[in-house]
Amino acid sequence: MKPIIILLFLILITSLECVNGVVLQRNIPFGELFALTVNKSVSISSATNSGYIEIYFSKINFDSRCPKSMCNLCYGSTASINLLLINKKDTSNISLTILGCRDEYECNDQLYYRKDTLGYRFYLLRLDPYPDGNSQVNPIYYSAKINIERL
């Protein structure tokens, strides 16, 4: 019985990845929040449609978010990431921007962080880690909370 329990446990921890409370899955429905780390991809599909797209988090373009302790004195403060949208044989670069001096956006806000392109609405709701001003974040450690809807 003990090997079965260990096997069950291994299956559980390998099938679920977690970043900031969001489960990473290989297949995500459109409209569902997911987290993605640099150099990782997910496929996103619709329950009513057999088509799907793949999203690959290729890189951080820049992270100029002001350290939170300096928000009183700062203007601007943005970060930008690049996603690859793979739709059948077509590949497109999608650049998403998020503003600093806050933690996370709500999807129902009509805010600056979203982009409508190629028939989809992309939301970049959160980007971790937030720079603390003392050291540069290694680009491979970034994790983005994203939501994608069909338009």
């Binding site: 004195l73 601007g76 403060s77 503003l99 600056y112």
Partner: protein
């Protein structure tokens, strides 16, 4: 068997905690810069009617001397700053410009704000001047923000772009200078990272001088206008979503320099903000050191054949002419005097600001 079931339940519980029990990562250290004017230990100094503030512009380039702001962008930055403050009797005198060729500085992104009280950034003191506000203009692809050293302070860095606008030569420069001269963001005290929950300004204005940005005539501002605004029309679209403690809807001014509005929308300070700047300049030793006493530039028998701007507290000009389709701007803090003959040829112009 019962023991095994217990283990399985425990395993699932551990897995659930690992998956869903993580903190969302709130780790902000909300800044809480004190209200300078409330913390004066000495007697209150009455401000002058006008001020001329000395500034130095520093252009950041690579060690090879490449990159960075062009001379034209430098001129635009200075003229924008002067233009933005001229209506308020605050003039800026350019005491000098230098070019800092240094790869390390050129790419620097981390700046420690003023904690030692000298008005400058603690970790960035290249070519500083105690008698001026040091303005460091970074390249249009660096920083992507503007940052003042303190409130009040005598240094700022600015570069890169936001909302498709190069910040260094935009009104955001005037925003950062506003911090240096004593102004807070209009949403200070309300926004999460601006003195966390400490003192939100009410829409009815009853706590306008003690909360928010400590300025009564700036409308209460709940958040960052550009997050819920339309850049082309400078409108704010979230009035229905934000209410204050009395249940009143916010209606922030989307054109204030000190709001988080789009750079192209910034165009004024309120009279309360101007008063606060004057009181801060008069009572801050750091800023008083940057004030240039009123001096007079005297120009006699000059033929202006190129466009130029002359900046001083007072300007006396006599027996001179402007030719060759040139535009001469007299940028004064107090008065301009024209004596004797003064000719402006057809196609040329004289502008007094």
């Amino acid at each position: 068997m019962k023991h095994i079931k217990y283990k399985i339940v425990l395993l699932f519980l551990v897995n659930w905690l690992v998956t869903f029990g993580q903190s969302p990562g709130f780790c902000g250290t909300p800044s809480n810069i004190p209200n300078f004017l409330n913390n004066l230990n000495k007697s209150f100094q009455t401000p002058q009617n006008s001020y001329v503030i000395g500034i130095y512009l520093h252009v950041m380039r690579t060690s090879a001397g490449t990159g960075g702001q062009t001379q034209a962008e430098l001129n635009t930055a200075f003229n924008t700053l002067v233009s933005d403050y001229q209506a308020y009797n605050i003039t800026f005198k350019l005491l000098g410009t230098d070019i800092i060729n240094n790869d390390s500085y050129y790419s620097q992104t981390n700046f420690t704000t003023d904690n030692n009280g000298d008005g400058k950034f603690d970790n960035f003191t290249v070519n500083t001047h105690s008698n001026a506000i040091d303005i460091y203009l970074f390249a249009n692809d660096k920083l992507n923000f503007g940052l003042a050293s303190n409130i009040p302070g005598t240094a700022l860095v600015i570069g890169g772009s936001a909302f498709g606008i190069n910040l260094a030569s935009s009104h955001v420069l005037s925003h950062e200078v506003g911090h240096c001269l004593g102004l807070f963001h209009t949403f200070h005290g309300t926004w999460t990272y601006e003195a966390l929950g400490s003192c939100p300004e009410l829409v009815n204005g009853t706590n306008g001088t003690t909360c928010g940005d400590f300025v009564a005539d700036t409308p209460a501002d709940p958040a960052r206008i550009y997050e819920c605004g339309t850049q082309s029309t400078c409108s704010w679209n979230c009035s229905s979503s934000y209410i204050d403690a009395n249940g009143q809807h916010y209606n922030p001014d989307t054109h204030l320099f000190m709001a988080y509005t789009f750079p192209n929308c910034m165009n004024h300070h309120t009279s309360g903000q101007v008063s606060r700047m004057f009181n801060t300049i008069a009572n801050s030793t750091l800023l008083s050191n940057t004030v240039i006493s009123c001096q007079t530039t005297t120009i006699t028998n000059e033929v202006f054949s190129n466009s130029t701007t002359i900046t001083d507290c007072k300007i006396d000009i006599s027996n001179s002419s402007i030719i060759n389709n040139s535009n001469v701007i007299l940028d004064i803090a107090e008065e301009a005097t024209i004596n004797g003959s003064f000719e402006v040829q057809n196609g040329s112009s004289l502008e007094i600001q």
